[in-house]
């Protein structure tokens, strides 16, 4: 277990030394949400109607923007092959990498969401579900993104390929999450949608590490 925690700790130290990786997605997310308030001529009703969509799309794009940090530098400096060949379980190491990436780029976004919800006139009755849906949904985005990144690591020009590969798999998350938020904002019970999101998380947690390890080996070979 120690080696896995060490990886997590090492990644958090690295993130702390390279703060731009930490703040870029956050800044992007905050800018996107605030620009919408300007661009939609501040019509309160319309904003509050689309606010959950803006927040979720912002979180999704921010996640896509930062996914490269997950393996790219480890791939380029050779750390990746070292930990794939170490006597540890590679799937657990992938999980730790994704966890550290989510802690650095996913969690801060969730933490500033309440603030943005106020700016965007989001109906406060749905705030709990909005945050909950982000808590369940953004790890799924990170996990699925890890597969796409692992597949495209070895390619020289993978710029547009990664979003094209990954976005179709992001859409179900977006649909269910947004649906849950809309229902709860209008006073309904969103537990069905949230359960569905939870099921996606469980599926992603169990299956993506295996796939990622396989794809990483393809990229390294």
């Amino acid at each position: 277990m120690n080696a896995y925690l060490a990886i997590l700790k090492r990644d958090l130290i690295l993130a702390n030394r390279n703060r731009s990786a930490l703040f870029n997605p956050l800044l992007f997310f905050a800018l996107l949400a605030t620009l919408f308030t300007v661009a939609t001529s501040a019509s309160t009703e319309m904003l509050s109607e689309i606010s959950s969509g803006i927040i979720w799309v912002g979180a999704l794009l921010a996640s896509l923007l930062s996914i490269d940090n997950l393996f790219r530098s480890d791939y380029e400096d050779g750390s990746l092959e070292q930990w794939l060949l170490s006597p540890n379980k590679p799937t657990f190491m992938v999980l730790m990498k994704v966890l550290s990436h989510w802690l650095v780029s996913g969690l801060p976004i969730i933490l500033i969401t309440p603030l943005l919800a106020v700016i965007l006139h989001f109906p406060m009755t749905g705030l709990n579900v909005l945050v909950l849906s982000l808590l369940i949904g953004t790890p799924v985005l990170s996990l699925v993104g890890a597969i796409g990144l692992a597949l495209t690591l070895g390619l020289r020009k993978s710029g547009m390929l990664l979003p094209l590969l990954v976005l179709p798999f992001y859409i179900p998350v977006l649909i269910f999450a947004n649906n849950a938020v809309l229902i709860s904002a209008s006073g309904g019970d969103a537990s069905a949608q949230l359960t569905m999101l939870l099921a996606m998380l469980v599926l992603a947690l169990t299956l993506t590490p295996i796939t990622v390890v396989y794809c990483l080996k393809l990229s390294l070979g």
Binding site: N2, A3, A6, I7, R10, I13, L14, R17, N18, E76, D77, G78, S79, E81, Q82, W83, L84, L85, S86, P87, N88, K89, K217, L220, G221
Partner: protein
């Protein structure tokens, strides 16, 4: 080390192609504890590819690689346990100091970090120990990477051009480590353009991957 603990790596009829070009075909050899295999060949002749195959990062197009009579694909982590691979890439984090890098190697191998200071002395990195590796020279970064040889308990070393970027003292140090490893019944597979001064007496094999010269001399 008793006889049944001897390590044995067998390669049978190994073939590999890359970008539709056959790099090598029908490669056969076997290597035991206390033996060294030197992989030679022109640039692009497939040395790195062969080493990647041997550590299981790549699957062969044909043929098998067996460790102690079991295919390495089936062994997976059990084989990784026995293996230390050093590639062209150092695997050193530029944002961490030399000491932090060494500590993280220890954690990766599940080894206590108590020898890190000693290893820093041996690799002549004491004065640079707490400087971020970003500010170290290429050769010093190579030394940080090579510190793995001292920190990992693995009996098999697969080294891809370990001497590049090293100064004379560094080259001598690595040669000394290689000799020591062989005396301790380790197994080494190495590609290098340097003369390694290995005595012919101790089980040494050379393999040359340059297409017209593809021979294996035991």
């Amino acid at each position: 080390m008793t006889n049944d603990q001897r390590l044995c790596l067998e390669v049978e009829q190994l073939s590999c192609a890359r970008n539709n070009k056959t790099l090598f075909e029908d490669l056969n050899f076997s290597l035991h504890s206390g033996e060294i295999m030197i992989v030679e060949g022109n640039n692009g002749s497939g040395k790195t590819t062969l080493l990647k195959l041997l550590c299981g990062l790549r699957s062969p197009d044909q043929g098998t690689i067996k460790f102690n009579h079991q295919e390495i694909d089936d062994l997976a982590r059990e084989y990784n346990d026995q293996l230390l691979y050093l590639s062209h890439k150092n695997g050193v984090k530029a944002d961490l100091t030399a000491r932090e890098n060494l500590n993280s190697f220890c954690q990766l191998y599940g080894q206590p970090a108590e020898f890190v200071d000693e290893v820093l002395v041996k690799m002549e990195l004491v004065n640079e120990a707490d400087i971020s590796c970003r500010f170290l020279s290429e050769g010093q970064n190579r030394r940080v990477a090579l510190a793995r040889l001292l920190l990992s308990p693995a009996p098999i070393w697969i080294l891809d051009e370990p001497l590049t970027a090293l100064d004379e003292a560094g080259v001598e140090l690595v040669k000394k480590l290689l000799h020591l490893k062989l005396q301790r019944e380790g197994m080494i597979i190495i590609s290098s353009h340097h003369d390694l001064n290995i005595d012919e007496g101790i089980g040494m094999q050379r393999i040359n991957l340059t297409p017209s010269l593809l021979t294996s001399v035991a």
